[in-house]
């Protein structure tokens, strides 16, 4: 057998917890060759990130334990190397893009320094590293690269942070890139560019890429081979086209079936008095306009999707509406009262009715609270919702509804995978039985089958209880299935707003059209695409980030 760049053999990882051992990875094997892209698809919580962490020597042992297996890098077993040898490999030979960019960036250092550090840590001179950092930041399409280098992680949007992680990983042109959900927070236009960048690099250096993702479109677009994981095991493996065409394992089939973008589009309900009426809301960060004069209406029981370029002010809008950031102007009337002008006391009164699921799930969960405490906290604050005796049962129910299991309620956030945390956050928002939920990329870290389940749940709540949603997403297929209205944002402004049908069938603005064009077609069911389903590169409209 030819020597592979990277080979994982029979890797098994177990976590020891107070509630007994958790087998996160149960004896998986795969390999990656030079210039190849291996996609790891799989259920959320199936052990994708954990196996990647094992390769990078990032598991805390204990509580983790590698029960068996070898990880061969060009024939040498990483697990038998000294810590120093592995350090020298990390970053230079194998680089990693983490799933949760905010938590994984050091909050107290400017991002430019952090990117350059990858190079200085491996002996590159400071000046060279700085120059390369600037180039990288430009390559990943961040606006105002010089200024961006000096900013701190919290000053970036979710997608921008993800691109910073990517820049960091690419700094030394590694032989192997482990990319854990590298594009979850990116809008389709930027995603296309990033994928293109990765492919270019691959062509240039022969980099092998281990791409962990749940996005079937991305897999189809860039991967050569795919392994499908479920509950810590590899259930299927093969060339992308083969697997897509003839999935053998039931889980794979279920996954492919669940791909969004196939249902009927919603028809918006008749107009009436809007639940939320936003007028002229603006937000400045220093001199930078994060949000400019946003105005829109939202009916009860309606879903408004917000799509748009990464860094265009979507999260900012959400945070302003939640009064987490003080706006620089505008009004937002909720049931006739202006949210933005409420006194802190009045605000407490309506807090329960408006909930938010944050873009960065890790950071939004208190690390010292168990899942039970996290979800039931709302009932502690608003005891009228549920009598205490029923809390346990209801938490269990909510967990099941979002695709987790009741046993999870005793665990703490750090013991979950990215997608699992996101679901905890959703369950927490649902627990409060609000009238309006703002979902900021709330399902972006979920595999499509779980995603479908969660979206169906949300849709059911919308229909049955008249909950309204503001649904920030970049997954156009999902938006198409789930939204009533769509709002398109760019550079802090709303460029277009309309019903789903209108936006998807007859977009008015060129930006909207570019967005739609860049969208990766998720796999049409049953068809065996011989070539990746991707709009031709020529049609990509380069987005001018400086605009």
């Amino acid at each position: 057998m030819a020597e592979h760049l990277l080979e994982v053999r029979d890797l098994a990882v177990r976590f020891h917890t107070a509630n007994g051992p958790v087998d996160a990875v149960k004896g998986i094997s795969y390999h990656l060759s030079r210039g190849e892209t291996l996609a790891v698809l799989g259920e959320s919580g199936s052990g994708k990130s954990v196996s990647a962490a094992a390769i990078m020597n990032l598991l805390d042992m204990p509580p983790a334990e590698i029960r068996s297996g070898r990880i061969l890098l060009a024939g040498r077993d990483l697990l038998e190397m000294s810590a120093e040898e592995r350090r020298r490999i990390n970053g230079k030979t194998i680089a990693m893009i983490f799933q949760d960019p905010l938590a994984h960036l050091n909050p107290v250092y400017p991002v430019g320094w952090q990117i350059a550090e990858t190079m200085t840590a491996h002996g590159r001179p400071r000046a060279e590293a700085d120059a390369r950092a600037l180039e990288l930041v430009r390559r990943v399409g961040l606006p105002e690269p010089e200024a961006a280098l000096k900013k701190y992680p919290h000053q970036f949007s979710g997608g921008q942070r993800q691109r910073l992680m990517i820049a960091m990983a690419l700094a030394l042109k590694p032989d192997i890139l482990i990319a854990d959900e590298p594009t979850t927070a990116l809008d389709v236009t930027v995603q296309a560019e990033i994928l293109k960048l990765l492919k270019e690099l691959q062509a240039e250096t022969g980099m092998g890429m281990l791409l962990i993702t749940h996005d079937l479109g991305v897999v189809a677009d860039v991967a050569d081979r795919v392994v499908v994981m479920n509950r810590g095991e590899i259930v299927e493996e093969g060339f992308v086209s083969e697997v897509y065409a003839g999935p053998k394992h039931p889980y794979t089939r279920k996954l492919l079936d669940a791909a969004p973008g196939k249902g009927a589009m919603h028809e918006p309900i008749a107009a009436g008095e809007p639940l939320l009426k936003v007028r002229g809301v603006s937000k400045l960060y220093g001199t930078f306009t994060g949000l400019h004069e946003a105005s829109f209406d939202l009916m009860a029981g309606e879903t408004l999707a917000i799509v748009g370029e990464s860094g265009s002010g979507k999260s900012t809008l959400a945070k302003v509406l939640m009064r987490l950031e003080e706006p620089n102007g505008g009004t937002a009337h909720y049931k006739g009262r202006d949210l933005l002008a409420m006194s802190p006391k009045e605000l407490l009164g309506v807090r329960r009715e408006i909930q938010m699921v944050f873009q960065d799930p890790t950071q939004s969960l208190n690390p010292r609270m168990s899942v039970f405490d996290l979800i039931s906290e709302g009932w502690v604050i608003h005891p009228e919702i549920l009598p205490k005796a029923k809390w346990r049962a209801r938490v269990a129910e909510l967990l099941t509804e979002v695709g987790l299991s009741p046993e999870h309620m005793r665990r703490y956030p750090h013991q979950f995978s990215g997608g699992q945390r996101q679901r905890i956050a959703i369950a927490r928002a649902l627990a409060l039985e609000p009238d309006l939920i703002v979902c900021d990329e709330a399902v972006s870290a979920l595999d499509v089958s779980v995603q479908a389940q969660v979206v169906a749940l949300l849709d059911k709540l919308r229909r049955e209880h008249g909950i309204a949603f503001i649904f920030i997403a970049h997954d156009l297929a999902l938006v198409r299935d789930f939204a009533d209205h769509v709002m398109v944002m760019k550079s802090g402004r709303i460029v277009e707003i309309g019903t789903v049908r209108q936006i998807f069938t007859s977009p008015r603005e060129p930006y909207t059209r570019a967005l739609l064009a860049a969208g990766l077609e998720p796999l049409p069911h049953g068809e065996a695409p011989s070539a990746p389903v991707l709009a031709p590169a020529a049609e990509h409209q380069v987005v001018n980030h400086l605009a």
């Binding site: 334990e65 909930q355 010292r368 906290e377 049962a393 409060l432």
Partner: protein, 307 residues
């Protein structure tokens, strides 16, 4: 929405206290520390009752009797003091006043300091600023002067002593809490709690405080020693607890001139102070880990160290 029936819910866990105890059993050092503290507490509770008599019985002929001799009875194993009283009995009896003063002062300063710090860090800008300046004032007000004033105008009772010592220690807790909050309040989970409609109080005490608490605990345990020794220097200046009342600090201070020729006078009570502080600190670092879910694995069984 319907409620699932109770079978869905996993069985309730063991009570938290039991789980902590199980973890404590596994950590030998922390276990020892806890045992010592229990002993100290028992001494504090029952010492004066059991040995009060023996602690005051003078015997000028047997003054400064050296330790480790059982000739004079087991009470004299640690030796005798300047007046021939049993050091062992005195240490046991003194535990009560010592713990009362030290625990009282540390508890109140930590409580008041932390609460003020929470307000300074999380409250409005104006209150925050005012409280921080107040801390400045207390910090630069010499504790000795405060002691002289309070104990001169009132009298040197245990309660007043606690007041004096507590006031002077407030700023550390206040400033530490405030500093940590400045950072913690910017974290996303605090914002998430806000979104849920959590009151300021809940955010302060449920979300922010647990993040600050371990550091405060570390400071508090070491402050224990500081307070015991500060109390002794006050006694020495004639404004603290005075004989015939005894505290470890006072015993240390009184034994000081004998350091050259009867070391045991100051050594045993000093050792009691050190051991108490050390036990408290070891227990608090154990607690820091036991209460932090991210760190807890260090104390949980089952994992063999293969890292």
């Amino acid at each position: 929405m319907t409620l699932a029936d109770d079978t869905l819910a996993p069985p309730a866990e063991k009570p938290a206290a039991l789980r902590l105890l199980a973890m404590l059993r596994r950590d030998k050092v922390a276990c020892l520390a806890a045992a010592f503290l229990v002993l100290v507490i028992l001494c504090a509770l029952f010492g004066p009752m059991l040995l009060g008599e023996a602690a005051t019985k003078q015997n000028l002929r047997g003054r400064n009797a050296p330790p480790f001799s059982l000739e004079q009875g087991w009470l004299m194993v640690l030796g005798a003091d300047q007046l021939g009283r049993s050091l062992l009995a005195r240490i046991v009896v003194a535990a009560q006043n010592t713990m009362l003063v030290a625990a009282g002062a540390v508890f109140f300063s930590a409580l008041i300091g932390t609460v003020l710090g929470l307000f300074a860090g999380y409250g409005g800008k104006k209150t925050g600023e005012a409280i921080a300046r107040l801390a400045d004032v207390i910090m630069s007000f010499p504790s000795l002067l405060l002691a002289v004033i309070v104990l001169y105008v009132f009298n040197p009772s245990v309660a007043n002593l606690i007041v004096v010592l507590a006031i002077t220690r407030i700023p550390v807790y206040l400033r530490t809490t405030r500093a940590e909050i400045l950072e913690v309040r910017e974290r996303m989970f605090v914002q998430a709690a806000k979104v849920m409609g959590a009151s300021h109080r809940r955010i302060m005490f449920r979300h922010i405080l647990p993040m600050v608490l371990p550091t405060l605990l570390t400071i508090a345990t070491l402050d224990f020693a500081f307070v015991m020794l500060a109390e002794s220097s006050l006694s020495f200046l004639g404004i603290g607890i005075q004989p015939p009342e005894i505290t470890w600090g006072l015993m240390v201070a009184q034994g000081r001139p004998y350091l050259n020729n009867a070391w045991w006078l100051a050594f045993w009570p000093g050792l009691a102070i050190i051991l108490t502080t050390m036990s408290l600190n070891l227990l608090s670092s154990w607690m820091r880990i036991a209460l932090d879910p991210v760190q807890r694995w260090r104390l949980e069984g089952g994992a063999k160290n293969n890292g």
